[in-house]
């Protein structure tokens, strides 16, 4: 589990900042990358695969974002080469309290778990232990 890459996708930079610190406190060796725009993360996945760079082990994805939202990201993500996505564990991390979103996340197979914001240290410990 050494040198895992964790990608945070959230349009709010302070949320990414806080989540990065919470993850680092429990997983100091993780390399964390932040994305403010979901489509940037998508392009980066494709690019890293093509040029043989490291792909993330974990992705934390927000739902409510301008431009490409979490659900739109997932639609595009499912169409990526399975060689890219096979190893990635994706978590939906969101402050959306919408029941529909929770249910939809439950039905979506690529989502490993739906984690409600704010991300807590316990969530991180649990997620890492389960993986």
């Amino acid at each position: 589990m050494n040198e895992d890459q964790i990608w945070l996708i959230d349009d709010d930079s302070i949320t990414n900042f806080v989540n990065k610190i919470i993850i680092e406190r429990n997983y100091s060796s993780a390399k964390i990358k932040e994305f403010l725009i979901a489509s940037d993360a998508l392009n980066q996945l494709q690019a890293n695969y093509v040029n043989g760079s490291e792909l993330p082990n974990f992705i934390f994805l927000d739902i409510n974002m301008p431009e490409m939202n979490g659900w739109e990201f997932l639609e595009a993500y499912k169409k990526l080469d399975p060689k890219i996505t096979d190893r990635i564990k994706l978590f939906m991390l969101t402050s959306s309290q919408n029941e529909d979103d929770v249910e939809r996340a439950g039905r979506c197979k690529v989502i490993k778990k739906f984690v409600s914001k704010p991300l807590k240290e316990n969530d991180v410990v649990e997620i890492l232990r389960a993986s």
């Binding site: 302070i14 806080v18 403010l36 431009e67």
Partner: protein, 276 residues
């Protein structure tokens, strides 16, 4: 009563047939009347219920935004106090956390006051005769600095009508549409806003056409939802209330608002306002 048969022979109807016909007609009329009054009663009670729900919702937003601001203000003051008294003991990370708390609580305060403004639209003024040309003059004047720095031009393609409405709200509607047209531009494109009005079956159809970045078709129905934003704040800052306010203002004047646009080809915001 005398009827004439096909053969031209008069037919005399017996009295009891006439009586029965009258009674049946009377019953049918009464039944129809009952159905109509019942429907009308039911409809009136639905309308009343709906008005009540709307009022409750507005009241709810108003109270919530007031009460939500209070603890937020205390939080902001406490952060300021910690910064003043303990800043030197907190180290760089501690100070960074604090400045982030300040930033997010300020953002939340903005969101709440926007929600409050939205819920109060049309509440603080009386309906009156409004000259939309005068409203546009006033907005032009208020935005003169912005128009100058961005090199934007406003072209009046037609005259603007006089209607019955809420002047402050209508001014806000015009101002939102114009500032949006100026804001959502690519590079240093000079904004051009063309405004026109035409009469269409009892309503004024007013159009604000711009040469901005346009809106992809799939997002056109979402842009009027409060707090909905299509762009990250680094590209186009904002809170996502402008067009929600526009929609509420137009609906206050019994009209509707929509956009006609293609990605990259400018937008035309169209709305209707009830004519006098």
């Amino acid at each position: 009563m005398v009827y004439v048969s096909n053969a031209g022979q008069p037919i005399i109807l017996p009295l009891w047939v006439l009586m029965a016909a009258l009674i049946i007609t009377g019953l049918v009329v009464k039944l129809l009347f009952d159905i109509l009054t019942d429907n009308r009663k039911a409809m009136l009670s639905y309308v009343k219920e709906l008005e009540q729900t709307n009022q409750d919702l507005e009241q709810y937003a108003y109270v919530a935004s007031h009460d939500l601001q209070e603890p937020l203000h205390s939080m902001q003051s406490l952060v300021t106090l910690i910064e003043l008294e303990f800043s030197d003991k907190l180290g760089p990370m501690g100070n960074k956390y604090l400045s982030h708390i300040s930033a997010v609580s300020k953002r939340m305060s903005n969101l709440i006051s926007n929600l409050l403004t939205y819920s109060r639209i049309g509440h603080s003024e009386e309906i009156q005769t409004v000259d939309l040309a005068g409203i546009l003059d006033k907005v032009n004047e208020d935005l003169s600095e912005l128009l100058k720095t961005t090199g934007a031009t406003i072209e009046r393609k037609t005259g603007l009508p006089v209607i019955k409405g809420f002047p402050t709200a209508l001014g806000q509607l015009f101002q939102n549409l114009i500032t949006n047209a100026i804001k959502f531009q690519s590079g240093d494109n000079k904004p051009i806003i063309q405004i026109s009005a035409e009469m269409q079956s009892g309503f004024w159809l007013i159009k604000f056409k711009d040469n901005g970045i346009g809106i992809p078709r799939e997002y056109q129905s979402q842009i009027f939802i409060i707090f909905k934003r299509l762009h990250t704040s680094s590209k186009f800052p904002g809170t996502g209330v402008g067009l929600a306010n526009c929609k509420k203002i137009v609906e206050l004047h019994h009209g509707s608002i929509w956009v006609e646009s293609e990605d990259g080809k400018g937008s035309e915001f169209c709305f209707t306002l009830l004519a006098e």
